[in-house]
């Protein structure tokens, strides 16, 4: 009997779609409140009017046709302005920017040039972090080396732990800032230490900044590419999905120095194809009037405050206060494994949360409070979580 897995790269041969969270969701008859997708205001209809109009206008003009594989120039110009404002870095939209079809595909795209097939080059990744950071390298011939971070240290990066793990095969450092799932906004001092580490070991730094629009008031956001010596070796993945609440559009961008962008442009058509034309038109309009983005950020701050109080009075859980929106990373180990707690909350609280294993830590769950446009509905969902845990068998 023919088995195609025998013809596959072992990194792929072991993968199966059976039993994953997605298949779990596909199997569910009744849909609980989804607090597992980092997708603002899911499932409500929330595309801003000016963005909708731009998409509609595009339908009547260019939407049917390919846009440039590396992205529409008008959009790139708006993004360059955004990068200057948000990250303090002036870039040339022609030679230092690429548009991609969502940040998910950007990881393989930007890491691939630096991982030589057969050499098992290494990628240093602080964890817990977004799964792509460590799931992608093995799919492109690399090897993921996890670097621990600790709740006691507010999940800050400990450069000593990086030093312990660097080898002559290390090529990349990949991290997320603000971090998903911990909500950490890395301090300037941490970024400076990481920068010094990357420079000293001649590494490429890949940073996913897709939550940068949701940084809470009290925190300074530092883009590592802005630090001395870093622009030439940093690839920054930016996205509008989270900040604009337009996850379904699939538009992201990559900032990288000319030499790297040159290579990315030449290979865009293979990893990206092109980004859909009408969505680019919508995002361009969105970037020209960003008030709705600031409203989202403020909403996350309000919710974080209110929901934090509810969690503070929930027995036997702990969490580090998030510094950016829109999720909580909660230690639930008292109640069982992440999967057990996730199932319990589906049954008893009618909410679906993310298991921590996907981020490397089965003692935690991630709860997205960015769902549901109606704040009260979201608060009620978290109250149901609290009530369910209060009556958990372990508390009787």
């Amino acid at each position: 009997m023919f088995n195609p897995r025998t013809l596959m790269d072992p990194a792929f041969a072991k993968k199966t779609s059976k039993g994953g969270t997605f298949s779990f969701q596909m199997d569910m008859k009744k849909q609980p409140t989804a607090m597992n997708w980092a997708d603002p205001y899911r499932p409500n209809d929330t595309v801003p009017p000016h963005v909708k109009q731009a998409v509609i206008d595009s339908l009547n003009t260019t939407a049917a046709h390919y846009s440039f594989p590396t992205g529409d120039m008008e959009l790139r110009e708006e993004i360059a302005k955004r990068v200057l404002k948000l990250n303090g870095v002036k870039i040339d939209p022609r030679t230092e920017l690429t548009i991609s079809n969502g940040s998910d595909s950007a990881f393989a795209y930007v890491m691939r040039p630096f991982l030589v097939p057969g050499e098992e080059n290494e990628v240093l990744i602080p964890v817990p972090s977004y799964a792509h950071n460590f799931d992608v390298p093995p799919l492109i011939g690399g090897k993921s080396v996890m670097v621990p971070t600790r709740a006691e240290n507010n999940f800050d990066l400990d450069i000593e732990e990086f030093e312990k793990r660097v080898t002559d095969k290390t090529r990349l450092v990949v991290f997320t800032n603000p971090n998903n799932p911990t909500g950490t906004v890395y301090r300037r001092e941490t970024m400076e230490k990481l920068a010094e580490f990357c420079i000293r070991h001649n590494l490429i730094c890949v940073v996913d900044q897709c939550f940068e629009d949701s940084v809470f008031d009290e925190h300074e956001f530092v883009s590592i590419m802005a630090l001395p010596g870093m622009f030439e070796r940093t690839i920054t993945i930016g996205s509008i999905s989270k900040g604009m609440g337009l996850c379904g559009f699939r538009v992201a961008y990559i900032v990288a120095p000319g030499e790297i962008t040159d290579v990315l442009h030449e290979t865009a058509v293979l990893f990206v194809g092109a980004t859909n034309t009408m969505a680019q038109a919508g995002v361009t309009a969105g970037l020209r009037d960003t008030r709705f983005m600031e409203e989202l950020r403020r909403e996350w701050m309000v919710r974080a405050e209110i929901l934090g109080s509810i969690l503070d009075s929930t027995p036997h859980i702990s969490y580090v206060k998030p510094e950016a929106g829109f999720f909580f990373w909660i230690d639930v180990s008292y109640y069982g494994t992440d999967r057990e707690v996730m199932q319990y909350l589906v049954e008893e609280a009618d909410v679906l949360v993310s298991t921590g294993s996907g981020f490397t830590d089965p003692t935690h769950i991630r709860v997205i409070y960015g769902c549901l446009q109606d704040r009260q509905e979201c608060i009620s969902a978290v109250e149901r979580i609290k009530a369910a845990l209060e009556r958990h068998p372990r508390n009787r």
Partner: protein
């Protein structure tokens, strides 16, 4: 420091210079672009019911992610299309994945079968779609080009595959109907190719994006139907070509459950989810797809005209397209592909597809030119441009003149 020194050698020398300034070039209104395989470029042409799909989505789910494998309703509609067009029953959950375009689907489908460090081989006919000659190398694999011949109408010669198969061969990649030659591979050819794939235990990647534009008198035979092929074939199709929705970025892959399970498992990490509103438009398009046949008839009329206009020019050899919306010329007697295309730009004010850099496979740069007769919504405008091309080629300066 040069960051290129940190790169895989295969990437190190890549330059995006092909794109430098190209965007400005594309905006020129003094030129006609008959070079993008993008129906009716640059004119507006989206059917109203497809626009409705977008409008409805904008009022409901457009802001939000779908499952990385695609909306349930779209996968069901695709399963129905696959049954209708390709003659196979597939399960919309187990055998289908929705992607953001066929370009990245080449990479996605082939990648699991190319083990880093082993230089596994992908066999592809020459001429055929440019990805076949670039993609495998960038994934740590290697393309093995297999010649085809004008006198066969560029049909496949299986003995040429036999000569080149090795222990490292993993994949055979075909585009059927073929881009750029417009060839629809014969049933007998595909039966022999199937036997070859089975005997050598290979995976077949079949990009059938142009299948619904097969012209009258030609049979679009589905190799996936041959016993022994279902379990080893990955079928790719797209909404771009047959539906004229290139800017939407919507495609899908069909495969046996064992292969599809792997692709679904790594979809979100490797290619990400497709756009939501686009998927809704895709559902609308599949439910009401009579316009596809209208496009096919239109392109058939244009194919005949293009062939008539271009087949009696001294120094130019031409293949009658059997499908699609492009025509393949051999201009080797006049000059290289680049020389002739530059000339057409100057004299006819038309941009056609040069094979410079052997983009359709080794040797094609010497002689091959692809002209898209699917450009422009208005047929007469299209013919006017083809006339200009004809006139220019008739006046091509002869060597020594």
């Amino acid at each position: 420091m040069s960051v290129r020194r940190l790169m895989d050698p295969v990437y190190r020398d890549l330059r995006g210079v092909g794109f430098d300034g190209y965007e400005d070039f594309m905006k020129r209104t003094d030129l006609d672009f008959f070079t993008f395989a993008d129906p009716f470029y640059p004119d507006a042409c989206i059917p109203e019911h497809i626009k409705q799909g977008i409008y409805s989505s904008l009022e409901s789910n457009a802001a939000h992610y779908t499952l990385p494998v695609g909306l349930d309703e779209l996968r069901r509609a695709v399963a129905e299309r696959v049954r209708r067009v390709n003659g196979i029953q597939v399960d919309h959950n187990k055998n289908i994945i929705i992607t953001s375009g066929s370009d990245l689907s080449y990479n996605f489908a082939m990648r699991p079968f190319l083990t880093p460090g082993e230089e596994n081989e992908v066999m592809a006919p020459v001429p055929s779609y440019t990805h076949n000659f670039v993609s495998p190398g960038l994934m740590g694999g290697k393309t093995v080009p297999v010649p085809t011949y004008a006198e066969d109408g560029y049909d496949l010669r299986i003995e040429e595959f036999e000569r080149r198969v090795s222990a490292k061969t993993r994949i055979v990649s075909i585009t059927n109907p073929n881009n750029p030659t417009g060839t629809v591979y014969k049933r007998e050819t595909l039966e022999r190719l199937a036997e070859f794939c089975i005997r050598h235990d290979l995976i077949l990647f079949a990009d059938q994006c142009f299948e619904e534009h097969t012209f009258d008198g030609y049979e679009m035979f589905n190799i996936i139907n041959i016993p022994g092929m279902w379990e080893r074939t990955i079928l790719c199709n797209s909404f771009s070509k047959s539906m004229g929705l290139c800017g939407f970025r919507l495609a899908y892959l069909v495969a046996h459950e064992e292969i599809m399970s792997v692709l679904q498992a790594c979809a979100v990490q490797y290619v990400g989810a497709p756009s939501t509103m686009i998927q809704c438009a895709g559902i609308a398009a599949l439910r009401n797809n009579a316009f596809v046949e209208d496009m096919r008839r239109e392109f058939q009329v244009r194919a005949e005209a293009a062939y008539r206009l271009l087949s009696d020019i001294p120094g130019v050899k031409c293949t009658m397209p059997q499908a699609g919306f492009y025509i393949w010329l051999d201009v080797g007697e006049l000059g290289t592909s680049k020389e002739v295309c530059d000339y057409l730009l100057e004299q006819a004010r038309v941009v056609v597809t040069s094979s410079d850099g052997d983009m359709w496979g080794p040797g094609t740069g010497r002689y091959g030119v692809r002209i898209i007769y699917g450009s422009r919504r208005d047929r007469d405008e299209c013919f006017g441009v083809l006339e200009r091309i004809r006139q220019a080629l008739l006046n091509y300066p002869k060597a020594g003149s």
